[in-house]
Amino acid sequence: MSEFFAMNGYGFYVWSAYGVAALALVIEVRALRSRRRAVLEEARLVQPESAALTGAGE
């Protein structure tokens, strides 16, 4: 197992590469999720006005 992590002495490079790549993807997904939450919240707040303006059948 420790051989796997050591990668024949190149562990630092291999895991820095894989690690940052994984981190970048995780950050992207989380940023997407939090942006979605914020946008949905804003859309909910807009709702009463648009309902008043557009009426029932838009």
Binding site: G9, Y10, Y13, V20, R35, V39, A43, Q47, T54
Partner: protein, 247 residues
């Protein structure tokens, strides 16, 4: 048959379709990624010249392919946005840019960490890495232009023009950098030259590339859904969405 696809060209009808597609692409990406990582980190043999450091190519090469492919796809959606004047095409282009930039960053980072142990330096001005760096600047420029323009339709069209100008220039930029590099290095040491490919290494790269492709589709569809809700905020179909009413 052609007309039935056009009904999805309105944000309102594309939104639920995209929502249904995301879980499938995400699941496919996860499965392929696991398979690819197993091949790349475990199954593929240690290389004779580059030892285990070469395993970085299983991330580096797919990321580089994705970064270029996504730029072309973004340019295609931009062309559609200008040609057909459709909002959704522009929204798709808008959704692609951040993922494309991220793939470019991953390609550059993994390339640097592959270069250090193998060729002794984190950064060498070889043709491919330099072109990849410029590609990152092109992506960031599009994102910066989008952020700088407040009015969404103007931003759509401006970013579309910029993306198309860029896509024409990318081959020219690559050619010029390659020319510059070979003139100054004689027998060009390509920093990103992979070891001679055993079949299993090629399979590993292709599996990871597919995983990256499906991941990108899932993430971009998710982003475009958020963009749609954000830009169509006043519409009654948005107000009626369950996720909006219970936000």
């Amino acid at each position: 048959m052609a007309t039935s696809w056009f009904k999805y060209s309105s944000p309102a009808s594309f939104y639920p379709l995209a929502g249904k597609m995301i879980p499938w692409f995400a699941a496919a990406a996860a499965v392929l990624a696991v398979a690819g990582l197993v091949i790349g980190l475990v199954v593929a043999p240690t290389d004779a010249t580059q030892s285990d450091a070469y395993r970085i190519i299983f991330i580096h090469v797919p990321a580089a392919w994705m970064s270029m492919f996504l730029y072309v796809v973004m340019a295609a959606w931009s062309a559609a946005a200008l040609g057909f004047n459709t909002r959704l095409s522009a929204m798709m282009a808008q959704a692609i840019a951040p993922t494309g930039a991220l793939m470019t960053f991953i390609a550059l980072w993994t390339g640097a960490f592959w270069g250090r142990p193998t060729w002794g330096t984190y950064w060498a001005w070889d043709a491919r890495m330099t072109s990849e760096l410029i590609l990152l600047f092109l992506y960031l420029g599009i994102i910066a232009l989008r952020n700088a323009i407040d009015e969404p339709r103007r931003a759509d069209k401006a970013c579309a023009v910029l993306a198309l100008t860029g896509v024409v220039n990318v081959p020219i930029i690559y050619f010029s950098v390659y020319w510059w590099n070979t003139l100054h290095q004689g027998s060009s040491v390509s920093m990103t030259r992979a070891p001679s490919m055993a079949a299993i290494m090629l399979v590993g790269m292709l599996v990871m590339a597919l995983a990256g492709w499906f991941y990108a589709i899932a993430v971009i569809l998710a982003r475009v859904r958020t963009i749609i809700v954000d830009r169509e905020r006043g519409a009654s179909w948005v107000a009626a969405l369950r996720e909006v009413r219970h936000a």
